[in-house]
Structures are given as structure tokens and as C-alpha cells.
Amino acid sequence: MKARRLVTWLGAAIVGGIALIAIFAPLLAPHDPFAQNLNARTVVPYWMDGGTTDHLFGTDQLGRDYLSRLIFGARISMLIGIMTVLTSGLIGITLGVLGGFFGGWVDDAVMFAITCRLAIPLILVALTVVALVGSSFTVVIFTLGLLLWERFAVVARTTTMQVRTLDYIAAAQAAGASRWHVLWREVLPNILTPLIVVATLEMALAILLEAALSFLGLGVPPPFPSWGLMIAEGKDYMFFSPWVIMVPGIALFILVLGINLFGDGLRDMLGVARAQ
């Protein structure tokens, strides 16, 4: 149990740390992440032979400071993660609560929407939308938000069904509370805990998907330092200098691992049953 606590705190520390880095990026970055210096291209990190302390993580193929790009990249991942979860959470929770609370044909319609969403190939549709509408930060957020709501809907629906039959809902209804009051004030607060756990899972997924889209060239457009884009840009040089893909890859891995550790710990601490 003690080890679990520790792991949860480790997750929280990772996520919190990266969030702080994202917020204070302009203060922390030693260089301008967009400034090119063609005289200092692919400088190696300081721990390798020939590295300098001026560029701790080296520079990329355009001579941009890798550490500074990494620090500003945290902003992109965090923002994408949070905004996507807000969008998809709004859609999924609304659908799930309505389906779970009203039942009948409303529930059938919600279940049908979830089934259809699952049948659509996620990455393919996201790529197509971004390619057609044009790649930008907002487009990526809304595309992912419109695609990643189904787990919110499933969990919101099941938990609403459990809560619906409880006494305090009947009491609120007997006291003459309107439907919307019951949904907003009685149901929603009581199903929030498992939904927060879902939010951590979806945030991790959104960050990974953004990186994958950017890696394929249809996510956040250059010159923004998205970690996925940094890996794509480094791909051509990875055989000679593997660190160009290792540095952003490890950053991505640590952030997603941190979110998952935090979410797992939260689930255990709050006693939420593992959603399959």
C-alpha cells in the first residue's frame, strides 16, 4: 500500500513538474526555440564527446537549441492533453449521463453512437480531417476531442445507471427538483470520481495521438516544437546521431508514464473499479 502511494506521488510529481516547465517555459529555456543557427547544426549533447554546456541537449539539423525546443514542446503536449480532455469529456459525459439517466430510446441512441465511434478507424480519420481542414493546433484539439469521447460516455452511462436508483435521487425528485437540477446537482457530482480517472487515461492517449499525427506530418505544423514533430525531423539523422530521437521520445514516454501512474494510483486510492 505504501509503495502504491509512493508511485501515485511519483506520477503526480512528474505531471506537476512537466506542467510547471510548460508554464514557465520562456523563463527556463536557455535559447529561443525557433532561432536557427546554421553554423551550429546537430551539435551533440554535453554528455557526448564534443558537447558543450551552451547546448545541454545539443542542437537539431537547423541549429535550434534542443533543450529549449523540448521545454516549449511540453506546452504543446500539455495543452493538447488538457484541451482534448475538456472537449471529449464534455461530449462523452453529456451523452453518457443522458443515456444512463433516461434509459429507453435515449440510451439506445447513445449506445449506438458509441458503437459507431468505435467502428471508425481513429488515426485514419484524424489524419484525413487534419489533411482536409489544414493542420493547426486548434484543428488537432477538436479532431481528437471529437474522436476520444467514447470511454467517458461508457463510464458516465454505467455510473449514472448505478446512481439513478439511489435514495437521494428519489428524494430530490420528491422534493420537486427539476430534471436538470437532478442531473447537474445530484448525479454529476456523484459520478465524478471515476470520470477523473478516465480523464487521465484520455489525456495520455491524446498526447500520444498528437505526437503520432505530428510525426506523420499532419499534426501541429512546423516550426512548432511538438515532441512528435521533433522525432519526425530527427528521423533522417537517427542512424548517425540516435539522441535526436531519444531525447524527445523519452520526454514523451516520461510524461505519459507519469499521467498513467497518477491515474492508476488515483483509481486505487478512490476505490474505482477498473474499467475494462
Binding site: F112, T115, C116, L118, A119, I120, P121, L122, I123, L124, V125, L127, T128, V129, A131, L132, V133, A204, L208, A211, A212, F215, L216, G217, L218, G228, I231, K235, M238, F239, P242, I245, M246, G249, L252, F253, V256, L257, N260, L261, D264, R274, Q276
Partner: protein, 305 residues
Amino acid sequence: MLLFLFRRALLALLVCLTVLVISFVLTRLSGDIAISIAGPNATQQDIEAIRRNYGFDRPLPTQFVEWAWNAAQGNLGKSYIFHVQVAELVGARLPVTLTLGLTGLAIALFTAIPLGIVAAMREGSAVDRGTGVIALLGQAMPSFWLSLVLIIIFGLKLQWLPISGAESWDGFILPGCVLAFSAIPAMMRLTRAGMIDALASDYIRTARAKGLSRASIVLKHALRNAAMPVVSIAAVQLGFMLGGSIVIESIFALHGVGHLAWESISKNDFPVVQAIVLILALIYIGLTLLADLANAALDPRLRAS
């Protein structure tokens, strides 16, 4: 049982229709599709000609009905770029993607199920915690990055495996492992949870009391009951793998459906994109239907509900 079959089939059909609408609407998102096809250097006349040629000047519902009617008969239209039937184009690429998906699934099953069983038998032990760590790492690893790392290690440093192409069978090992890695955590957790439940049940106690061997108890009695949810998730995961192979195929230069989709997206070849979205969705719907039927066949209780 018949009613269950009928309802499941009807639902699958409705989902197919919805996906048909979605894949049509998807490619009309950009507003004017003719401008996208014509490219940046086209004149007004070129765009007009394209509009007339492909029938974009007609109302959207007419276009949709025509496309859907043809698609239902297996005619998915012609590729704008390759000028061949889309069905032919996709059909030629499908074997590579299916081989990749099945390789990934096989690797995932042969890793996840034994690990899940061992974790369940030694619940709380170091082995159990070790598999938990593997699951966490698998969830956090970006698949495209893992692909590149594996290419560096096994292709470049050790030179054990080819890093691209599908000319021989070993070209599928690395991409298969990457696909499997993303499916292993869910399968392993499910096997573990199912086995823990099964091992604590009454029929296992009976089997123990009868003096059956440990191997027989675990493999014949407990695993059969724990396997059901794993079968459903395996079908679902295969669907996800086929959809997700777009990233893996482009990295390992496997010319499958995913690679074709990526090419078509970047070249605005919409009939191909539409067809691939549709085909992947149909495969997923078919797989989940199969999984439901298999579960209903295995567990009579499910048919009643």
C-alpha cells in the same frame, strides 16, 4: 438465440450505414473537393472541368446515394491518382496489412496470456508486480518511437532483422512486435483478472478436491473460463491494430493498406481514403460481431439477455 442473432446483425447493419455516411461526409469537409484535386496551379477552367467530370456539381445527397449504392455493390469508384478501380488497389494491399495485424495479434496473445496466467497464480508476488510494470511501460510507449528505437537496435546495431519492406517473412517481426506491444497491457490485465476470479471459484475447489494436477486445473478448467473476455478483446484489438497500422506501415515501408491510406491522404485521393475508412470499419464491425457470437456460443447466459 435467433432473436439475439437477428438483433446483433441488425445493429451491425445500422452501424455500417452510419459509417457509410461518415466516410462520405469526411471527404467533403474541405468545402470544395474539386479545388483540392486540381492542386495549387489549376485555372478556373480546370476546376470547372473536374467538377463536371467527377459529378461534384450535383447536389450532395444525389452524390451520396450514388456512391453508397455503388459501394454496396462492391464498386468503390476509381482512384484519382492511379486511375484504377479502388477495390483492386486496396485488394492488392490488404494481404500485407492482414499479415501484419495477425502477426501482431499472435505475438500479443502468446506473450499476454502466459504472463497473465503466471501473474494470477502468484498474485502479489514479484512476478505479478513485474508484469504490472510491463503493462504500464507498454501503455506509455509511443508506438512510432518504439519502432524507430527497435530499428536502431535490431536493424542497425545488431543487424538481426530487416528494417523495411515485406519481401520476406522476417520483415514482419519488428512491426508485429510494435503492434503487439500496444495490445499486450489490456490482454494481460484481462487474463490476470479472469484467472484470479476463476481460480477462486467453486468448480476449481471441486477440481482440486478431486485431486487433479495443478496444470490440468489451471489450463483446462480455469483458463477456459478466463479466456472468454480475452477472446472479445483480441477481436477488438485486431481491429484497432489494422486501423493503427498506418503509422507502423509508413515507418517500416510496408506497402499495405495503411501506407496506401497515408499516400492517398497526402495526395487528396479521396475515393481511396473513403474506401479504406469503410473497409477498416467493416472489418472491425465483422470482428466484434464474430466475438459476440463466439461468446454467446460459449456462454448460454449471454443469449438470454
